[in-house]
Structure formats: structure tokens, C-alpha cells
């Protein structure tokens, strides 16, 4: 009998339903991680210009001073800050801290994801402050 495969694939990362914010941090963590890897590859490619002599290096550097790259650089630092803050949160959670202990459940249930929420909010606020400060440093000061 024919069956319909109902797997959500990448749509399940972006929108799976009315879940809490942590499920969207999961997606953002993956996207920012992929962005950082992409940056690393580009970085290696660009700095490799040095082996073709000083002139090639100067030319590449001049090319990189455009506004598009400045915005790209800001996105990189914002992505790195978020990835670091979320990574710190993941390390704390994965070591079993701040998520409560197993106990008898009575309705309405308070799951671990709600118990750790103050930690997540604190770390995300820290990330937001750092992203704003770096934005001021990049574009205004």
C-alpha cells in the first residue's frame, strides 16, 4: 500500500508549530554555525592572496573595503556572539545544570525547558547587548 511521507525536513527547523523560543534558537544556532564555517572558508581563500605577492594582497584588501563586506563583517560578529552565548547555554544544560531534577509530575506540568528559561533569557540578553555594542562600534563610533 502506498504511503505519504510526512517528514517535515528543513521546514521542521524553521516552523514546526507553536513551540517555545528554544526551538527557534536551535535553528539559529545551526544557521549561525554554518555561517561561521562559510566565513572560515572565505577567510582562508582571501588571505591566500598573500602568496601571490604584495600587489595581489593590496588589490584584494581594496576589494574588501566595500560597504557590503562591512555589513557582512558585522553579521559575522553578530553570528559569532550569538553562537558563543547559545553554545555556553548548551554546555550548561548538557551538563545537567539549571534544568531541575526528576520528580513526580502533577498537572500542570513544569518541564525542564521552562525551568531553565531564566538562564536562557539572561544569556540571550547578554548576547543582544554585545551585538548592539558591536553595532555601535562598527557603524557609528
Amino acid at each position: 500500500m502506498r504511503r505519504y511521507n510526512n517528514r517535515l525536513w528543513v521546514k521542521g527547523w524553521i516552523y514546526g508549530g507553536n513551540y517555545g523560543i528554544e526551538r527557534y534558537l536551535y535553528t539559529l544556532h545551526r544557521i549561525s554555525g554554518l555561517g561561521l564555517i562559510l566565513y572560515l572558508l572565505m577567510h582562508i581563500y582571501v588571505t591566500a592572496a598573500r602568496i601571490y605577492g604584495a600587489a595581489a594582497w593590496e588589490q584584494t584588501m581594496a576589494f574588501l573595503y566595500g560597504p557590503a563586506f562591512k555589513l557582512g563583517e558585522y553579521l559575522l560578529i553578530a553570528g559569532a556572539i550569538f553562537h558563543a552565548a547559545n553554545g555556553l547555554w548548551l554546555i550548561i544544560i548538557e551538563l545537567g545544570m539549571c534544568i531541575g531534577k526528576p520528580q513526580r509530575q502533577e498537572y500542570p506540568y513544569v518541564p525542564s525547558v521552562k525551568k531553565q528559561r531564566p538562564l536562557m533569557v539572561a544569556l540571550m540578553l547578554l548576547a543582544a547587548v554585545l551585538i548592539i555594542v558591536s553595532g555601535l562600534d562598527f557603524f557609528i563610533i
Partner: protein, 266 residues
């Protein structure tokens, strides 16, 4: 009157699922499952869904209701606070017909983590001579996770399951922790070799969706993080003591003696 938009799929006729609309006279106290039975009895007998106990014990009627996977029997129509209710089958499974999905990947993964007591004393497990001792505190260490219904809601909520077919999933990983943290069990090494793998524990990145939607408060996310902790820092195997049967214990003075057992020992 509430409008129900229900996803239909008949494998013999349709190539893709589609939504069909029904109008149901909703009364206070009706659950989504009551409404589905109303549709099946009065409006459209071809609608297929799975249900059994209608009281949140069997875990058959899990479906995707207004943006969250939930048990139809435990979801009051009134609690949704809307007149338009959209019901789809659980995501991340294959649809057999309408709202019925194939849960066999869930059961296969559950079986992989050896969800039973593995004891170092196989003879004692097979032919028990005495009781195991387990304190209330030791019981609470795993009791929460023992309430799992195998309804499959957590796998429908998990974003990793959405893209990784091989991922063991919140249900199986939580059961690995449930049995490993039981003091009668000695199977941690066997289970960790199954869960501490490429598609095991470390594919969980605490999206927390499984914990949020679990209808029994099992909290698979908590169990997975605690299992990760055991994978990192190791696990202290403790063997539950075998207790003397109470009838053979010395009675405390002043407490009346238990009556003679009615079934004689062979």
C-alpha cells in the same frame, strides 16, 4: 458551531493529502476526540483516526492540533480559544490514511535502547527468590520517565527528527535514562554503546519541544541531558539489595504477628 479542517489522505485514491472542512456543534466539555467521533458518526464515516481509551492512558489519539502535537482526548475544544480547528496527522511519520500514522519507527528505536531491567544476576531475574530494595528517593529518580505512553508526540515535535531519520529520538533516549537510573539495573554499558553514538544523545540540542508537548509530563529533554551528564562523568552502578521476605524477619516487640500465609510454600 466550530469549523474543523481535517487533513484527509486515502492511499488508494489520492497522491497528496488535502484539507476537508466539517461543521460540528460543539458543547462545553467536548474534547477534540469527541468531535472526531461526532464527524465519523454523523457527517463522514470514511474519516479514519486511531483512538482507544479516550482518557490519556493509551496514547493512540496523538495528532497535530492547531500548531501543536497533542492527544485529541486530552484537548478540550474550549481550551483552544478559537472556532477554527485544524487537525493534521503527526509530522515526521508516514501517513497510512487520514490521521493514522505508522508509529513503527518509534517502537523500533524504543527497542534499540533495551528498555528492560538488565541485571548482573540473570538467574535471580529469571527465578526470583527475594524482593529488591528500592527507596522512595531512588524510585523518584526514574518514575517520571516511566509514565511514557509511546504516543509518539515527542518525535513529531523534535526538529532533529525532522531532518535525521536515524536519530533515536526523545522517547528512546529518555527510556535509556529511565532504565539506566533504576537501581535494579546493571545495563548502563550496554545502553550507552547504543545512545552515545552519531545519531544518539549528541544530536539533541535542547530545542525543548519534546518536553513542552509531552502529555504525561515525562520531560524527555531532561532525561536526555541527564544521560549526557552520565556519558561525560560516568555512571555509578549500584546493585539493589535483595531483601528478606517480611514474614521471615524478626518482629518488633509490641507489633502483632502477620497472619499465616494462606498459600503454602512448595
Amino acid at each position: 458551531m466550530a469549523t474543523f479542517r481535517i487533513q484527509r489522505y486515502n492511499p488508494e485514491k489520492d497522491t497528496r493529502p488535502y484539507l476537508q472542512t466539517y461543521e460540528v456543534p460543539v458543547e462545553r466539555g467536548m474534547s477534540i476526540l469527541d468531535c472526531l467521533f461526532y464527524i465519523k458518526e454523523n457527517l463522514d464515516a470514511t474519516l479514519s483516526f486511531r483512538a482507544s481509551c479516550r482518557m490519556g492512558i493509551c496514547g493512540s489519539c496523538a495528532m497535530y492540533i492547531n500548531g501543536l502535537p497533542r492527544l485529541a482526548c486530552e484537548t478540550q475544544v474550549e481550551s483552544l480559544r478559537t472556532d477554527t480547528i485544524e487537525i493534521r496527522p503527526l509530522p515526521n511519520y508516514e501517513i497510512i490514511k487520514d490521521l493514522v500514522v505508522d508509529l513503527s519507527p518509534l517502537f523500533d528505536k524504543h527497542q534499540k535502547v533495551k528498555p528492560w531491567i538488565i541485571s548482573s544476576d540473570a538467574v535471580e531475574v529469571d527465578r526470583p527468590t527475594k524482593e529488591y530494595s528500592q527507596s522512595p528517593a531512588q524510585l523518584e529518580g526514574y518514575l517520571q520517565f516511566a509514565y511514557c505512553l509511546k504516543c509518539g508526540i515527542c518525535l513529531a515535535a523534535c526538529p532533529t527528527v525532522a531532518t535525521d531519520k536515524e536519530f533515536l529520538g526523545p522517547q528512546a533516549l529518555a527510556q535509556a535514562f529511565r532504565y539506566s537510573s533504576d537501581n535494579r539495573d546493571n545495563g548502563f554499558k550496554e545502553r550507552i554503546s547504543v545512545v552515545d553514538t552519531l545519531h544518539g544523545l549528541w544530536r539533541c540540542h535542547m530545542a525543548g519541544a519534546c518536553a513542552e508537548v509531552c502529555p504525561k509530563g515525562v520531560d524527555p529533554a531532561l532525561a536526555i541531558q541527564l544521560m549526557k551528564r552520565k556519558a561525560i562523568f560516568g555512571h555509578k552502578e549500584e546493585q539493589a539489595r535483595l531483601l528478606e521476605a517480611l514474614l521471615e524477619a524478626t518482629p518488633i516487640p509490641g507489633i502483632p504477628k502477620a497472619p499465616e500465609p494462606t498459600v503454602k510454600k512448595k
